[in-house]
């Protein structure tokens, strides 16, 4: 006869929610053990973002600093020397010693001795004295597009202000420009790159780490045949999905805090807004990217494919389509549409808004809503694609 122990141990009376909680909790606990058992992954997860942000923070800079310029002064007068001094006064440009002749510009660019050349033409002072217009030629090495456009912008501004002063001190009073523009930059007065790059970097490192974390761990279960064993138990799909996500959400939050700390301490990036808003945004962003990784691994079912798909689908949107490096407004419509799907751009907008501008919830709720929607769609998709049956 049946012994007393062989009646089912799960009483049918137990409320559904409690069983849901027990099973989800078991999943989360197991996932935590995996992490603890292999701390190298944890160090990678926490160390990689910090290394990345330091490398990027120092390496990626749009600040113009000591760009070598050949100032070719063919006039050799007081006025031309004044213009040359103006060009180098701000520290953005360094005049190189051996400027040579205009024909030498090519050679200087090729040897990377100069990135730009400014030619102050013969008879410049006299022409100005006569009230004639003088044209300064600025040659720019266009092989580095980003630097070239910055050089063009800066040199044009310097030349303009030099010409205004020249006109003011020059003879014909009529040449004085009556209105002066005065630009004041808000939120990032020194226009330091780090200040707007660090928020973008936070999104970038979190996106990659988060997608890869889940993509790998779920694909591993498929590969090892654990998924079949899991499916033979009463654990539901949503329980697997939520149980898998929760420990990685905690790790992700830790990553975000670390990166934020490095950003504020090392790069002096301000956090002007509310931490609560920052935390809410980060949580939603992580939920979305972790679920994206989950979805990938549900489709891929093997670690190699999942790693590649995970890296590409997190890296590209986070770097190219987030507004981190390239303004989204300048992109073709198709790319703008794609950029609007991924949560990276909303997170970058939110981070910049909160950290630099103290933007309130009233302004940032669309970003939060968009990220929440992405996370919800990803969780629903992965749950739906998670076949409970193995074939």
């Amino acid at each position: 006869m049946t012994s007393s122990t062989s009646r089912p141990l799960t009483p049918r009376k137990v409320p559904r929610f409690r069983r849901f909680a027990v099973r989800t909790g078991a999943m989360a606990r197991k996932e935590t053990w995996h992490v603890v058992r292999d701390p190298s992954n944890l160090f990678l997860a926490l160390g990689m973002p910090v290394v990345l942000i330091i490398v990027f923070g120092y390496g990626v800079s749009f600040d113009l600093d000591h760009v070598p310029v050949a100032i070719i002064d063919q006039d050799g007068t007081r006025t031309s020397r004044q213009v040359a001094r103006d060009l180098t006064a701000s520290g953005e440009f360094d005049a190189i010693a051996d400027a040579g002749e205009p024909e030498d510009a090519d050679r200087l660019f090729r040897r990377q001795e100069a990135a730009a050349a400014v030619i102050l033409p013969r008879g410049m002072e006299k022409s100005l004295a006569r009230g004639e217009q003088v044209t300064l030629q600025v040659l720019v090495d266009g092989s580095d597009g980003g630097r070239a456009s910055s050089v063009i912008g800066s040199s044009a501004a310097i030349v303009r202000s030099a010409s205004i002063r020249a006109a003011a001190s020059g003879l014909p009073r009529a040449m004085v420009v009556p209105i002066r523009g005065r630009v004041r930059t808000l939120f990032n007065p020194e226009l330091r790159s780090a200040v707007f790059l660090v928020p973008g970097l936070i999104a970038y490192v979190l996106a990659i780490a988060a997608v890869l974390l889940t993509a790998l761990t779920v694909a591993r279960e498929w590969e090892r045949g654990n998924m079949e064993q899991l499916f033979a138990t009463p654990v539901g799909r949503l329980e697997i999905v939520l149980g898998k996500l929760s420990p990685y959400l905690a790790i992700g939050l830790l990553q975000a805090l670390l990166v934020l700390a490095v950003g504020t301490v090392v790069f002096d990036v301000p956090v002007r807004g509310h931490m609560a808003l920052l935390a809410a945004g980060t949580l939603l962003f992580l939920a979305g990217t972790l679920s994206q990784g989950l979805f990938i691994s549900v489709l891929a079912r093997n670690q190699q494919v999942a790693t590649q798909a995970g890296a590409i689908s997190s890296l590209l949107p986070a770097v190219l389509l987030s507004g981190f490096l390239f303004p989204i407004e300048n992109m073709p419509l198709a790319l703008q549409v794609i950029a609007s799907v991924f949560p990276s751009r909303y997170y970058v907008e939110l981070l910049r808004g909160v950290m630099l501008k103290d933007a309130p919830l009233a302004v940032l709720w669309p970003q939060l809503a968009a990220m929440a929607a992405f996370a919800a769609v990803m969780i629903v998709l992965s749950t739906a694609r998670f076949g409970r049956r193995i074939a």
Binding site: L9, V22, W33, H34
Partner: protein, 307 residues
């Protein structure tokens, strides 16, 4: 009501391939049911359908009162499943694996702790509970997998080739544990291709190419499918002996085994003729009577199919 598994006209196709064709059987409470067959004969497909992991193409199966097609979740709550692949988490300890799977079955807190203690004792794993699963020898891992499947005291235990790749001694221990469990009222359904394992089953079903060909107790199967007497002939001159034996009328089969031949002779009182012929061909040959085994049954059924 005493039937814990009722399968009727169960079929499963993958595309145009029929993995399981029109299979029907019943398994009673407290029975060890063995499902035998070559690789690809449809054993695993059947067991997966019975565990609610795979939807049948047609036919029906009721396991522990739940219909596998309509209520797979109900089936999963009442069964324990040990899959062919080693599917514990190697980077977790024995205790952690049990703790997780117990939670997956909805057990928690004190009930789960005491249940883990019970199965650890039952399967002789108490001193292993803190070991990483990956560090265990094959036999112990198999016992951990069994412990996992028993945590929630299932009505039916499904074991899909549970001892594949395990040494014979561990295999015997494992079967002994299953038998002890079954003696307490659990029903076991196991697939295997080890015939010695099948000998321990109360009843054995034989799958050939997706069909359940025969189903009976091991002794009845031997009596019905391996009639007559069996001899084993040890000889160095296998070719000569085979030729001499083939000349005898009524000889059913000659099969080459290790260092000799296994001969089935029909009708039964023919030992002398076999011995005479064999010795005539090779004076050094040794002729011994042998017991019929499920191997012989398997061979007889497969041969019948081939004809």
């Amino acid at each position: 009501m005493s039937d814990l598994i009722t399968v009727s006209r169960l079929c499963r196709s993958f595309g145009s391939f029929q993995a399981v064709k029109d299979v029907s059987f019943k398994v009673g409470r407290g029975e060890i049911f063995g499902y035998l067959g070559a690789n690809g004969a449809g054993k695993s497909t059947t067991i997966r359908m019975l565990c609610g992991l795979l939807q049948p193409t047609s036919g029906s199966a009721v396991v522990a009162g739940a219909d596998v097609a309509r209520d797979p979740e109900g089936v999963k709550r009442r069964i324990g499943y040990m899959s062919q692949k080693f599917s514990l988490y190697p980077d977790l300890t024995v205790f952690e694996n049990l703790d997780f799977f117990g939670g997956a079955y909805g057990l928690s807190g004190r009930a789960l702790r005491s249940r883990i203690d019970e199965v650890l004792d039952e399967l002789g794993l108490r001193d292993r509970s803190r070991s990483l699963t990956s560090s265990l020898p094959g036999g112990a891992r198999q016992r951990v997998a069994l412990a996992n499947a028993l945590l929630h005291n299932p009505d039916v235990l499904f074991l899909d080739e549970p001892t594949a790749g395990v040494d014979p001694a561990s295999r015997r221990d494992f079967i002994a544990l299953v038998r002890r469990r079954v003696a307490q009222g659990t029903t076991a359904f196991l697939t295997t291709h080890y015939m010695d394992e099948a000998e321990y089953c109360d009843r054995v079903g034989l799958m050939v190419a997706g069909c359940l060909k025969v189903l009976d107790t091991p002794s009845a199967l031997k009596a019905n499918h391996v009639p007559g007497a069996l001899f084993e002939v040890r000889t160095a001159r296998r070719g000569d002996v085979t030729a001499a034996l083939n000349a005898i009328q009524g000889l059913a089969t000659i099969q080459r085994i290790g260092a000799g031949l296994r001969v089935r002779y029909d009708p039964s009182p023919g030992r002398d003729r076999v011995a005479e012929s064999a010795l005539a061909a090779d004076p050094d040959a040794v002729v011994e009577a042998a017991e019929a085994s499920l191997d012989d049954v398997f061979r007889a059924v497969v041969d019948q199919e081939a004809q």
